[in-house]
Subunit: 200 residues, 2 copies
């Protein structure tokens, strides 16, 4: 089966987004990342900042309380309605043309398609801490604290909406340690896998 769509799930700071972009350039297909956020903002009316924060992460505080709060007459929270719009959009993008989609639970949303390649990119805390300071700069909180917080909230979001464990190898066709293998090597492996197709 020839792959048409690559989904990239990633730990914050692992370079998953960079791998997605470089892979897409190499394959000559679009990469959806920030573009998904922009399209979601247009379609849902929510701000880009809100979508960035809530389209992949559970809220910072007690997320169960927050998930139950502020529901509409049908029992849907704002995050639920964002999830629905996001689901539709991801399906549309996958239908339109071959592409790479970074994050947004695309692996889960497209799980019934036979033509996807689902990827998970991770790296050690040390590698990621160094990288987020290089890419995003220093903040008040230590890079390790920022990473732990992001990991925890992304995991909670994933669990809530997909009912699967984020980062479990079994959920992805291929999972790579970008810190050890190197970002360039990850792109190379994925490009080869995309071009030559999976066996089944």
């Amino acid at each position: 089966m020839k792959n048409r769509v690559v989904t990239i799930s990633r730990e914050f700071g692992s370079g998953g987004r960079t791998i997605g972009r470089e892979l897409a350039v190499k394959l000559g297909i679009p990469c959806y990342d920030e573009e998904v956020i922009e399209k979601l903002a247009e379609r849902s009316g929510y701000s880009k900042e809100y979508i960035k924060e809530r389209g992949e992460y559970a809220p910072a505080a007690t997320w169960i309380g927050s998930a139950l709060a502020g529901r509409d007459r049908n029992g849907y929270s704002v995050a639920d309605s964002l999830w629905r719009v996001q689901s539709e959009l991801i399906q549309e993008l996958a239908e339109q043309s071959p592409c790479v989609i970074v994050g947004r639970c695309a692996d889960y949303l497209l799980r019934d398609r036979a033509d996807i390649l689902t990827v998970f990119i991770h790296a050690s805390m040390e590698f990621r801490a160094k990288r987020i300071v290089e890419v995003y700069g220093q903040r008040e909180d230590s890079p390790e604290k920022r990473l732990r917080d992001k990991d925890k909230r992304r995991r909670a979001y994933y669990q809530l909406y997909t009912d699967t464990r984020w980062g479990e190898a079994a959920n992805y066709h291929i999972a790579l340690d970008s810190g050890v293998l190197g970002i360039g090597k990850c792109v190379e492996i994925l490009a080869d896998l995309y071009r030559n197709g999976k066996e089944n």
Copy 2:
């Protein structure tokens, strides 16, 4: 860093052992799998059957009770002493020459070496059920029941001795779905990675 040792952890029925053997042939290095069990039997005095069953799996019944039962005067169980012999042997094999080691928590035991490539092979329940019937034949229990039981006990063993979560992508440099990618493709990716080395 050039890889010298490849460790392959695998879900039962995923073809991880076959991938290890084919990879070793391709690279012209030894593959330790059954050989580890034979060497452990010689060295520890336990039977091969016992080692096969207890060197990677928690006991079938209440494993906590069993892990506490039958300890010697130093508080070590038979499984603990097997673990110690196994740890020494794996370290020795990795020192001796480049090789592929299948199972036996080798990824964890060799985690401090910079020259290892740690691999996890998994596949869907459907793929594995079909495969174990082909390889091991029909049994009284359904293949799905046999797989669930094996998975559960291997996970418990791994948790007990390594205190890490078995099958978590973050614990391996590369994790591959052999059912979707195909066994031949997995061998190819790993051989390339071994030959060209990791970046870090």
